[in-house]
Subunit: 507 residues, 2 copies
């Protein structure tokens, strides 16, 4: 038996245990070679990767140290006596191996995999194996089974209204903060829209990060219900209400690998929406050369998969292809994006028109879900609600309901403007690079960090004219971001005037 | 700048760095979310996964702690000033993504991946992504390119002799310690056989572990040459001479996942042999229901792939299919296997006949590589060398050359005999389970730990008669092994007499 010891080390979602090499009870090196240990006491059990400690003073010979993530998951107090054993690999790994071999997995197999992942029985390496094995050859039926399995672990919400609407953007476009405009419009119209959003994982801001600039987002389920009852909508962080937790774990491995497959994406999004109790869903698929979806053919394939799975799990799914050739709005980063969204809601002079029009397009299609509304009237209704100030009023109700942030947050004070290297027309903006620069500047951790775009696609610029401004709060971050921008701004400039496409249309 | 600090923590081949959360220079949480950091000073640079420390006293705010593996790889002294930055993912990951998408990779792409892996620029998760992506759809040309790329990183040996022979077993069969018999036979015949072997990763013993019971195995290249010059052969640990180091890294991820693909296997083995300077190679492919290769069809496919790649890299490869239905010999674990091998070499009464006959078969085929020998005479020659005691004398020369172990090691003193649950004939022995029990008993770390088989396939046993004896050196390991054996012995017993196959033949 070992004494449990909490080690305040943040291992980024990996369960890690520490054992002294001179442990008198167990042979740590033997465990480590077998990859993982199982820690148990009174029916509680977790798996962890083992580090062996020779460092003096860090851990006593009769102690088992657990880093934060593992300690929380085991849920026992410090000093408790625990036993460890070499972990048998989860049985469901055999199904992963079958998948690698090209087999079609059954619902039972997929459910077992997802339950093991949700219970942290998979190491990151094993999760990567599952993700890659299912990257290319997940059939539509397997995606359906995966969606159901993921929705079934974690909480499931249900609502009194027969129509509960939702929207989701598949991501990849910096500044695309339409939810903060769409939710208040739809709520003001009267449809119920209890929106849960994610925080950024590798991007510069998620909706939850931006909304947090204005209000609390870490609401529990009861609090969330309360807000929705009063305001018909909310904008909360999904991580706190534990919807489809296996999905969060998969994403934490998938994103750093930058491996996004359509199959995984559909299962991820639809499982979350299913768990959230939505009945109608609009999916925004930006299409562009540096977006997640790069061609119309890809977009159509993705739409079909969404429709196939949506139908079978009882979600009415509509798809909108949108312009993904550049960031939306001007600000990238929580404070800057919240500023843009509020400017649109307030009908402020100079509010970014592309963000406004895109939000109206999406809100209109969601309002069209309303059985009481005559077909096709949604877009006009959305515009009326936004331009009359009703959307802003709805947003204020939501902010008050969730708990207004008393601190007014401002953009980071370390700033640098990145100049155009030559005169001409802007022909390309690399969404990925812009996102990464904003991220290096400190977003989303520093709410005020990010990028403010001063020129967009098709604009004419003179040499030396600023393309965008970097905002940062810390010197080291500021330098990382400026270095990357100096290396390449992410902007393409051509001295010939480009042909024009319709605004907002897909390329 | 941070001060470099060595942390004596064994992180099992993953580069791990530790930064205090209150570091005044950098923002650790920001780095961590981006997955990895790059540590550099004067052109030296490594990548590491970042852990963030709140634990008091473990690391000062201006220190960067590196666990053993990372510290060794960076190769700078403690106290050195280093800079860190968020790591850009290795460029070659884009090729991994292309592979996931189904592309055929070029030699240049595969070389870039392997160089990045050898330079520890891939995390374990990224390595898993590469392994799984290439699990199903690596073409024969890609396997060839992978073999060349892996052989090209690390050392390449060359020898004066025109014929340099080698053997390799693809593994999976406990107790299959033929190299310790084959090398002395072949060396006594006069062919040059500079054998490098691995240590066990997930099995109970590698040849290097067993040989180490008798002699030093961690020889450098010059020492190894010296032994080969005097004794015509050697049995050293390959890890110390740094042949195909990328392969070692791939294996460290692949084995715990228990994902063995034929493509990876062929590239792994042939890259090692190519780097070792071999010209002729005999590959032992055991075939059996619990072996790595489970059917003749699989074995033939594997043979073709070995031959295809072997031909193109200039290695003459011969394949032998062997009986993989049960462990070979009696002992499983370093001391017990070394005992069996020495008993065969000494022509001792009671030496395991299956181990002897299999070794003669393999040695004979290798001797047939000798251009001076008339075709087909190898097997008789091998028997003559073994039974006349010349092989034992050659082994003693090798042991003396490498440095005889002055300590005589004995089997573990904690023993338990596992009884037959019923009377009948032994119809199956699960190689995987037997290996795992031996492993839990402490092998290969405790040289004396392991299993001694007391009954083999087709033997008749009475209820209660011992099937095997577990040896362990430590109480906790002893218990783990006995528990697993009690759960299921790994033996199948049938009360009907089984049909007989020829001894030593493939099923």
């Amino acid at each position: 038996m070992l004494r449990l010891r909490r080690l305040s080390i943040d291992t980024n979602r990996e369960n890690v245990a520490f054992l002294a090499r001179n442990c008198p009870v167990y042979r740590p090196a033997e465990f480590q070679a077998l990859n993982k240990i199982e820690i148990q006491q009174n029916g509680r059990r977790i798996l962890a990767v083992l580090n062996i400690v020779d460092e003096p003073g860090m851990i006593a010979p009769d102690e088992l140290g657990l880093a934060e993530q593992a300690f929380r998951q085991l849920g026992l107090p410090e000093g408790e006596r625990v036993e460890i054993a070499p972990a048998s690999p989860p049985q469901s790994l055999e199904s992963v191996r079958r998948k690698i071999g090209g087999a079609q997995l059954t619902q039972a197999e997929i459910t077992a995999i997802i339950q093991d992942i949700a219970a942290s029985r998979y190491s990151k390496t094993e999760i990567a194996a599952f993700l890659i094995a299912s990257a290319r050859f997940l059939s539509a039926d397997e995606v359906l089974n995966l969606t159901r399995a993921m929705a079934d672990v974690g909480n499931r919400l249900s609502w009194a209204d027969p129509v509960v609407v939702d929207k989701h953007c598949i991501g990849g476009i910096p500044g695309n903060r339409t939810s903060m405009i769409v939710v208040p419009i739809v709520a003001a119209h009267g449809l119920m829209m209890p929106k849960t959003s994610s925080r950024a994982i590798t991007s510069a801001a998620g909706t939850a990060d931006s909304m947090e600039v204005l209000a609390r987002v870490d609401l529990g389920i009861a609090e969330m219900r309360n807000v929705v009852e009063k305001a018909r909508g909310c904008l909360v962080w999904g991580g706190h209400v534990n919807l489809s937790p296996a999905d969060d774990i998969l994403i934490s491995v998938e994103r750093p690998l930058a491996i996004d497959t359509q199959e995984q994406l559909v299962a991820s999004i639809l499982s979350k929406k299913l768990a959230a109790g939505s009945t109608h869903l609009l999916v925004d698929i930006p299409v562009g050369p540096t977006a997640k979806v790069r061609s119309l053919a890809e977009a159509i394939r993705l739409r079909k998969l969404f429709e196939f799975v949506g139908d079978r799990v009882g979600l009415q799914v509509e798809i909108e292809f949108t312009d993904g050739r550049q960031p939306v709005g001007r600000g990238i980063g929580p404070v800057l994006e919240a500023r843009d969204a509020m400017a649109v809601l307030a009908n402020a002079h100079g509010a970014p028109q592309d963000l406004k029009e895109k939000s109206l397009l999406l809100a209109g299609r969601i309002i069209d879900f309303d059985p009481a509304l005559r077909g096709g009237g949604g877009h006009a209704r959305a515009r009326e609600i936004l331009e009359s100030g009703q959307a802003l009023a709805a947003m204020e109700r939501i902010i008050d309901g969730q708990g207004r942030n008393p601190v007014r947050q401002v953009p980071g004070e370390l700033t640098a403007e990145i100049p155009a290297p030559s005169s001409g027309w802007i022909t390309a903006i690399d969404c990925f690079r812009i996102g990464r620069i904003a991220r290096l500047a400190g977003a989303p951790m520093d709410k005020g960090a990010g990028i403010d775009l001063l020129a967009k696609l098709d604009d004419k610029v003179e040499r030396g004219q600023p393309l965008y401004r970097i905002h940062a709060c810390f010197q080291s971050d500021f330098r990382f971001a400026c270095d990357l921008a100096a290396d390449s701004s992410g902007y393409g400039i051509d001295d010939r005037e480009p042909p024009r496409y319709g605004a907002g249309g897909a390329p």
